[in-house]
Symmetry: C2
Subunit: 365 residues, 2 copies
Amino acid sequence: MTANFKHPHRIDRLRAKIEEEKLDGILISSGENRRYLSGFVSTAGWLFVTKANAVLCTDFRYTEQAGLQAPGYRVDRIGGKLDWMSKLFVEHGAKQVGFEADHITVAQFDRINEAMKDVKDLPSGTQLRPTQGITLGLRAVKDAEEVNLLSRAIQIGDEAFAEVEKTLSPGMTEEEVAWRIEQAVRVRGAEAISFDTIVGSGPNAARPHHRAGSDVLREGQTIVIDMGARYQGYCSDLTRTVVLGKPDSQAKKVYDIVLAAQLAAIEMVRPGMTGAECDGIARKVIQEAGHGDAFGHSLGHGVGLEVHESPGVGPSSPGKLQENMVFTIEPGIYITGWGGVRIEDVVVLENGRARVLSKAPRMKF
Amino acid sequence: MTANFKHPHRIDRLRAKIEEEKLDGILISSGENRRYLSGFVSTAGWLFVTKANAVLCTDFRYTEQAGLQAPGYRVDRIGGKLDWMSKLFVEHGAKQVGFEADHITVAQFDRINEAMKDVKDLPSGTQLRPTQGITLGLRAVKDAEEVNLLSRAIQIGDEAFAEVEKTLSPGMTEEEVAWRIEQAVRVRGAEAISFDTIVGSGPNAARPHHRAGSDVLREGQTIVIDMGARYQGYCSDLTRTVVLGKPDSQAKKVYDIVLAAQLAAIEMVRPGMTGAECDGIARKVIQEAGHGDAFGHSLGHGVGLEVHESPGVGPSSPGKLQENMVFTIEPGIYITGWGGVRIEDVVVLENGRARVLSKAPRMKF
């Protein structure tokens, strides 16, 4: 019954969730979830999925494209008013309808409820029920097609980094480095960078999310480059820390600690561990080296259609890591006034172990 | 009292709104609003503004940067828990606190309310009150600095379009055109394109938001190019429709109607008109030419830190256009199977008239 969809097993998994949650149907509003479940790529539109049916609702701008991209879905053209929603519920006899509470704003929810009041034949007891993370949960475990697309995105990122890394020299601005990376990523077929490239040199590297600016690269300082390519929607995420010329005395020491923390987590992570347990492996290495306070972010995060998605891999991530989950492992140490070091790779849990998807070489001192 | 802020008059206007809404303070969560009010550029953080104080709350990754970018704000470092929020309310004696209902999700709102329950010394009657569009309303009317930044973004877009337009030839793919535009925009100092460039050739041009794909440009067909540059956060937005070689018989006819509609709206729009009235000027021209059904989107939209923001300029935009508002005027006609035409410029209302900010020449047949 789902064979005509682009990704039949994703619909099957969603429908199993709908049943588990005792819902008659679910409204999908998030763009990435819409794409994941239907193949439809756009900035606007809704999916309404029940046990037996699937409808894609979008406006005039996208209806033709939706028909082409989302086989298996009936495409309904909607306008700005929200009356279509209740009509769909009535048509499909759906009384308990889930919505994405982690995507719909408070104001949208009020408007939807207002619109439902105006519909006269809505069966009593019809109710929008908040759900959280249902599709995000499905997305956390990647299928083979997704691992392929992610691997391609990561390969593009690796190649782009290798190409640009060779050209780095003192006096080049951070912005120039970021732009070279973006060009290198794009000429290799990525549709975009997956987030604003971070190039933090010297003291700027102490800010984990510093944007590339007009400061110039200097010898001896650490330069943190955090970059990603987006390929057919899938995001890569890679961080390398490099030094031009001879590293200053602190750089080697800090780098070795971060690298040891990363390798420990890659080596020891197992399906069945919580995200927090995985985080703890690397954090312990950094804490024991006396830099615990300087590692103020999570060890990692899931990667897929979004550059940050499930699973969480931080000190307060209770969820269990599972086979075929894909996530980053990226410890860092940041020292205000001096700089920082971060090393990040994307791994997939396969056959009970982490397989590192990135192949970009790590700097050796 | 606001002199030490980066944009003192924006804080003054916000505080006047806080007073008008009888609020003791307001929580700002939207990234663009945060940037507009503080100068702080990031993917995470909150502002809490009262009549007398202003606090910027962000996590470890951004605290150092926040101190540099947002003078006038006290910077508080927060973690993943939401307990800081109630503590701020208590510290500042704020009982009626506005939040951005058009940005906060239903799930976030629930979490915030849960967190507030746990705070023991929260005065009874402390309440989060939904607000909508307060800062967006301030942003709709641009100050001189904003018009300058927008003009620079638009100039970059104009120059990039002119450069790439000269190189268009049959057989080039839409994607290649989009990438050339992006490169041309970036080498001129834009930090990014402001949205995925649209290059719709032939039948693809019938889909107003077609993404650039692998189809090739052909002689005689219309090619809709919709592009933008982002400069210091501000977005340009430009659409030109071009034809390689001799246009087919339909192209000239449709083009002339769209152009007449656009010029009519640019000529006749006045402060004090509603967005709907402005939309109606162009729509009437297209309707009278017999293509009313083929113009299925709004005439325009505000442009600023976001590529779509207030004011609305569509058939159901009741708000009045005001002096110093900046918005697009972009009528179009789309015919399935054949293609489409859209012409778009950004205007600012000045001295009672629209001044066109874009200088990119329009095609002449």
